[in-house]
């Protein structure tokens, strides 16, 4: 489907459509027309990306709600913009049409007090002891340092209610070194009957604290949203701000960013493989993958001077150049790592005991994955062919097409296989870019930022865990007035919960969890 098709469809719904730039369409929608417009739109090839609210009461006296879709095969974004009244702001629930929007509705309710009509809005981001309904942290009149009493109010889970049923509570402080989250298994014998999670333990209010900060300060915050996806967040943020200007970043900077994004994917996938093998009780492969990961991290550190790529990016390109010799050495090291990895792959794929654990564990069907809007390797393991590196080209991906592999089973084994295939494709992909790496400057000044209208930018990146979106809005002094982050794990958590509920036993729980290997920090912010 191309862009003119989309415009003609939008005309059918009598929408007031305008263009932000060549790859971004914007529609103002009346609250009453929202559901019919979405119904029409969903018949086309679009994918729901994110939804967020903005407090515009100071300028227009209203709240604003933005829904962003990716138009597949058109390299284009589509935004629905709805203005909501200041008094009792509400809109018809979207999650009835797009189930993936459920968490977004609950988060917007927690943070802004905006109500999605017709659905149950359980607290999500702010825990039970937070004075809901009294304070709304993302509203402009809420002061960041507002003191709020902390007390212990347990989360409500479905309690076991029949003979032979048990409850297994895990976390928020886990036995292993993982991030905090409270998980509740409801079991009958060994079988998992129900599974639910209470997250947002590491919620630090980063989005709120960025308000009023400069662009560069915002970048540092973006790098610290999550450690594992640190560079993806940083690139997405930079792209969001860069999209405000017509300046295109230098080719060398774009290519180096692409190399680093792929390196981060390598680090993350190796760590995931190690975790999967460890959860499957296969120590040899787990330890080997862990040591490969350490080697990859050391390569990263040698190349960028930081093990998590921090301090490399800046708006307009890179802060410092990397020597070409470093890239040549990286190429050689990756070749060595590839040879070693081949033996590890053999161990994993030939091990019957591990395969027995992985096969049919944590199944997530194509339909379920579509329903929850799953992204990244988890989506590709369930047969959904979506990847922003191909569907919304950015940085160096418009010149170099990565191999995007698909599996159809949707079980833990498929997710493992996707990672193995991805790792092989990275080993070939990075040298291809290094061979074509141009010389030249690495940073472009962004003079138009001050005069751009509207000062709203969107950055999209396919992180190791899936698509990741940053929305940045600047005020007239070029300070951040709203920053929204939607990470890949935010979309995938509900899919993971669904996959755990399937035909699994309690010891499969960690394995399903690790086969998704979701970040908590990314989700909680």
């Amino acid at each position: 489907m191309n862009k003119s098709n989309i415009i003609s469809i939008l005309k059918k719904c009598n929408l007031d459509e305008s263009t932000i730039n060549t790859s971004h369409l914007l529609c103002n929608i009346q609250k009453e027309d929202l559901q019919t417009s979405i119904e029409v739109l969903l018949k086309e090839k679009v994918s729901f990306l994110t939804m967020f609210a903005i407090d515009e009461r100071l300028s227009s006296g209203k709240y604003r709600l933005d829904l962003i879709f990716l138009v597949l095969n058109a390299n284009s974004l589509l935004t629905f913009k709805i203005y909501l009244d200041e008094v009792k702001p509400s809109y018809p629930a979207i999650s009835k049409l797009i189930p993936a929007a459920e968490w977004f509705e609950r988060e917007i309710h927690d943070m802004f007090g905006i109500i999605a009509e017709g659905v149950d809005l359980e607290p999500l981001v702010l825990h039970r002891d937070f004075p809901h309904g009294k304070y709304f942290p993302m509203r402009k009149d809420f002061k960041l340092n507002q003191e709020i009493k902390i007390s212990e109010v347990p989360h409500e889970f479905i309690q076991p209610h029949a003979e032979g049923m048990h409850q297994v509570a895990v976390g928020p402080i886990h036995a292993g070194i993982i991030e905090p989250g409270h998980l509740r298994f409801c079991t009958i014998g060994e079988q998992i009957l129900d599974f639910n999670a209470q997250l947002f333990y590491t919620h630090k209010g980063i989005e709120k604290s960025a308000e009023g900060k400069t662009i560069e300060e915002g970048l540092v915050l973006a790098e610290h949203v999550c450690g594992m996806c640190s560079y993806s967040h940083s690139v997405a943020y930079c792209q969001a701000v860069e999209s405000l200007s017509k300046v295109i970043i230098p080719k060398r900077a774009a290519y180096i960013r692409t190399i680093c994004l792929e390196l981060e994917r390598l680090n993350s996938h190796l760590s995931d493989l190690s975790a999967i093998c460890s959860a499957g009780g296969f120590a040899i492969a787990s330890m080997q993958a862990a040591s490969f990961r350490e080697k990859a991290m050391q390569l990263t550190s040698k190349l960028t001077s930081h093990r998590f790529f921090r301090g490399l990016n800046t708006v307009g390109g890179l802060k410092r150049d990397i020597d070409n010799d470093e890239f040549e050495s990286l190429k050689n090291q990756l070749q060595n790592l590839k040879k070693e990895f081949e033996s590890l792959e053999k161990i994993i794929i030939d091990s019957d005991t591990l395969l027995d654990r992985l096969e049919t564990t944590g199944e997530l069907s194509f339909i379920q994955a579509k329903k929850f809007g799953i992204v990244g390797p988890a989506a590709r393991a369930s047969g959904i062919d979506i990847d922003l590196r191909r569907d919304f080209k950015y940085a160096g991906y418009s010149n170099f097409a990565p191999v995007i592999s698909i599996e159809t089973e949707g079980d833990a084994l498929s997710r493992t296989k996707i990672r193995v295939k991805d790792i092989y494709s990275i080993f070939d992909f990075i040298p291809r870019i290094i061979d074509k790496l141009p010389i030249g400057k690495i940073k472009e000044e962004m003079p138009e930022l001050l005069s751009a209208t509207p000062k709203e930018g969107i950055g999209l990146v396919e992180s190791a865990k899936g698509s990741l979106i940053h929305y940045v809005r600047l005020d007239e002094k070029n300070k951040i007035s709203r920053w929204h982050v939607r990470s890949a794990s935010y979309m995938n958590w509900r899919g993971m919960v669904q996959a755990t509920k399937g035909r699994n036993i309690v010891p499969d729980g960690p394995l399903v969890n690790k086969s998704f290997n979701l970040c908590y920090a990314c989700v909680d912010r």
Binding site: L144, Y201, G205, C226, G227, M228, K295, S301, A521
Partner: protein, 168 residues
């Protein structure tokens, strides 16, 4: 590769003088207790709200390259078995109670090590309705290992320093 790490660390080069003022609590422990702990330390890690980079680096300590156990250090699943509590932060409002419960569940003597800038000084995260700041506002911290995040090598150095102080 394990040998390499041991060479790099060089236990005798660890300088305890630098941080002695900070370590009054460890020094106050009686000699027998310290001697008992000087051979091995069990660590319980607690994420009080970090960005997960600290966790990734701590996890790296158990890989074959660093192999934490060769130094008489290991991670334990329960705070009740732990001598050392490592905390990465900053402390969030949602984890404050869980953090205090974990600390209280530990048997005495309790050694607390703050790992990463977030835990040591609050890092870039502003104090807010959700973020309460550095760890030593809530727990008595004995050793600080700053870094954004500290590398596995730096964490290992900090842990070994702690062990060495026990044997003095």
């Amino acid at each position: 590769m394990c040998g390499q790490i041991k060479e790099k660390i060089m236990l005798e080069n660890l300088n305890t003088e630098d941080i002695k003022t900070e370590l009054s609590r460890i020094e106050k422990l009686d000699k027998n207790t310290r001697q008992a702990l000087s051979k091995s330390l069990l660590i319980r890690h607690l994420d009080a709200g970090s960005c997960n980079a600290e966790e990734a680096e701590l996890l790296a300590l158990s890989n074959p390259i660093y192999d934490l156990t060769q130094f008489g250090l290991d991670f334990t699943a329960s705070p009740r078995h732990a001598d050392v509590l490592t905390v990465s932060g900053p402390v969030t409002r949602h984890l404050k109670i869980a953090m205090e419960k974990t600390y209280n569940a530990m048997p005495s003597p309790k050694i607390v090590i703050a790992i990463g800038d977030g835990a040591c000084n609050g890092s870039i995260y502003e104090k807010s309705y959700a973020c309460l700041g550095k760890v030593d506002d809530f727990l008595p911290v004995d050793i600080y290992i700053p870094g954004d995040p500290p590398t596995p090598m730096q964490i290992l150095n900090g842990l070994l320093l702690c062990k060495k102080l026990m044997s003095l």
